[in-house]
């Protein structure tokens, strides 16, 4: 197991180094125009800074959205775990409906449709957060439900026999065990969220993808700029997934 993990880590790093090396070398050929992001020129630096500044909203948007979707997902999951049939039906309906709508469609609906329906103003950021959180909450709900159901029935009985209320049982006994088990799944959702956030570029959110699009329109160097975009996501997601794995290992003890 240990050897295996070490091997995977090694090869991943090596592959990335290889990709970067190929890209850097290819900048020497005639078709590639790495000058657009050449850090040794003033305009290259500006462009690079412009692209990198997209991290701010990509991260802020994703973290806000996933915080909201984890909380709503947990609440929706608790409905699904209830003894009450009506509440379980609410859970199923919510999950089925939300899961069936593509994220992009949700984003468009929330940004262009919701303000008319509810007669409210909604800015790009919160429209994006709302759409992403809505979409993700259905998945979080399913993850939490599976996690809670994986905890042994004896734990509820023991909690009850030392006088814990339902809420205390959930809070102190069931959820801490469930969360440890679903941490990898929650980490995956965060990775999905970071990737899905690129879709919010269509309504003008200045995150990584939008910034790249805007720069392409000015500079006409789509290959180089989108390659940088790929690398930006790659680095971000590799950092996030190793952080999740680190947490997972720590929580095992």
């Amino acid at each position: 197991m240990w050897v295996h993990r070490k091997f995977v880590g090694f090869s991943k790093v090596r592959i990335i180094c290889l990709i970067i090396a190929v890209l850097l070398l290819s900048g020497c050929s005639d078709q590639w125009g790495w000058y657009v992001v050449n850090p040794s020129t003033e305009s290259g630096r500006d462009n690079l800074y412009f692209l990198l500044s997209g991290f701010y909203y990509t991260i802020l948007l994703s973290l806000t959205a996933i915080s909201i979707s984890i909380i709503t997902g947990l609440l929706i999951a608790l409905l699904g775990l209830s003894d009450n049939k009506f509440l379980r039906t609410v859970n199923r309906t919510y999950v089925e409906i939300v899961r069936s709508v593509p994220v992009l469609v949700l984003i468009l609906w929330v940004y262009y449709g919701l303000p008319q329906l509810a007669d409210i103003q909604i800015n790009v950021f919160w429209a994006g957060v709302l759409a992403l959180a809505l979409s993700d909450s259905a998945f979080e709900a399913e993850i939490f439900r599976a996690g809670v159901q994986s905890v042994n029935k004896g734990q509820y009985e023991a909690a009850k026999s030392v006088g814990l209320s339902y809420l205390d049982t959930m809070r102190y006994v069931i959820l801490p065990q469930a969360v440890r088990r679903i941490l990898p799944a929650l980490g995956n959702q965060l990775v999905y969220m970071l990737k899905m956030s690129s879709l919010v570029s269509v309504i003008g959110m200045p995150e990584l993808t939008r910034k790249a699009n805007e720069l392409v329109v000015v500079e006409y160097r789509s290959l180089e700029i989108y390659t940088i975009l790929v690398l930006e996501y790659l680095v971000l997601i590799l950092i996030v997934s190793s952080a999740v794995r680190w947490l997972e290992r720590r929580w095992k003890n």
Partner: protein, 254 residues
């Protein structure tokens, strides 16, 4: 061993009166009636599937019953929250599989109930916990996690966890049957000491040496019914029903 004199005027701590329970059409408890007085030690035995577990789980409302009445200290149980409180204040339970909380240390396992349900301060709860850990002879394990302990130690922690709620009666559901043979005695010893200190107990077990030593009352069950109930001496000397005789013979061969 049965030196306790029962007071005749106080209501029994536990009374089951004509209790029946069904799973769908299948009747698992058939008009069960029994009284347990303060200080009494009752041992229930019987073949697998006799509904021994169901019976004691009805007493602390882990299972619901459909007919008959169960009283604790003279108050009938229903599904109100005051009933739940009554159960919590009076009844402790020890499970076959310990059911310790694996993500909490031994000390945290013991203090969770007192802090949340009895509203103890953390320091008070820890005092109580250490007192009962000493009672089960493992105070030095307080800061370990359950999986770092042997089965026998885990079950003793589970007993201490129940005791921390300071119940009037302890229910044991085959507390030693998940243990390796060499660990059974350390748990039975702790239980015997509890009994000697006057704890009221209902214990489902097939450890007949233990039963002979502590039981005031023996109950033999089969197919959801109580077939035999009486003082321990009479039960072991001259069991009445053939099924009980056969059962005792079978388990005492080992």
């Amino acid at each position: 061993m049965s030196t306790i004199k029962h007071k005749n005027n106080s209501p029994p701590l536990i009374r089951m009166s004509q209790v029946s329970k069904f799973f769908g059409k299948f009747q698992v408890l058939k008009r069960i009636s029994l009284d347990v007085k303060l200080g009494e030690k009752m041992v229930i035995c019987g073949p697998s599937g006799a509904s021994k577990s169901i019976l004691i789980r009805c007493i602390n409302q882990l299972e619901s019953h459909q007919q008959g009445k169960i009283y604790i200290n003279g108050t009938e149980l229903d599904d109100s929250s005051s009933s739940a409180k009554l159960v919590r204040q009076n009844v402790g339970m020890v499970f076959q599989n310990f059911n310790l909380f694996p993500h909490l240390t031994v000390l945290e396992n013991l203090t969770l109930g007192p802090i949340r349900a009895r509203k103890f301060s953390k320091a008070d709860a820890q005092d109580v916990a250490m007192r009962y850990l000493e009672r089960v002879k493992i105070p030095e394990q307080a800061y370990k996690y359950p999986r770092q302990l042997s089965g026998g130690q885990q079950q003793r922690v589970a007993i201490a966890r129940s005791l921390c709620m300071e119940p009037k009666i302890m229910l044991f559901d085959e507390p030693t049957s998940a243990l390796d043979p060499e660990m059974i005695n350390e748990v039975l010893e702790v239980m015997s000491e509890l009994a000697d200190n006057g704890m009221t107990m209902i214990c489902v077990t097939h450890e007949m040496a233990f039963a002979r030593r502590v039981a005031d009352t023996m109950v033999f069950m089969d197919h959801g019914k109580i077939l035999e109930k009486g003082s321990a001496e009479i039960f072991f000397e001259s069991p009445k029903s053939e099924r009980c005789k056969a059962f005792l013979k079978k388990i005492q061969r080992y």
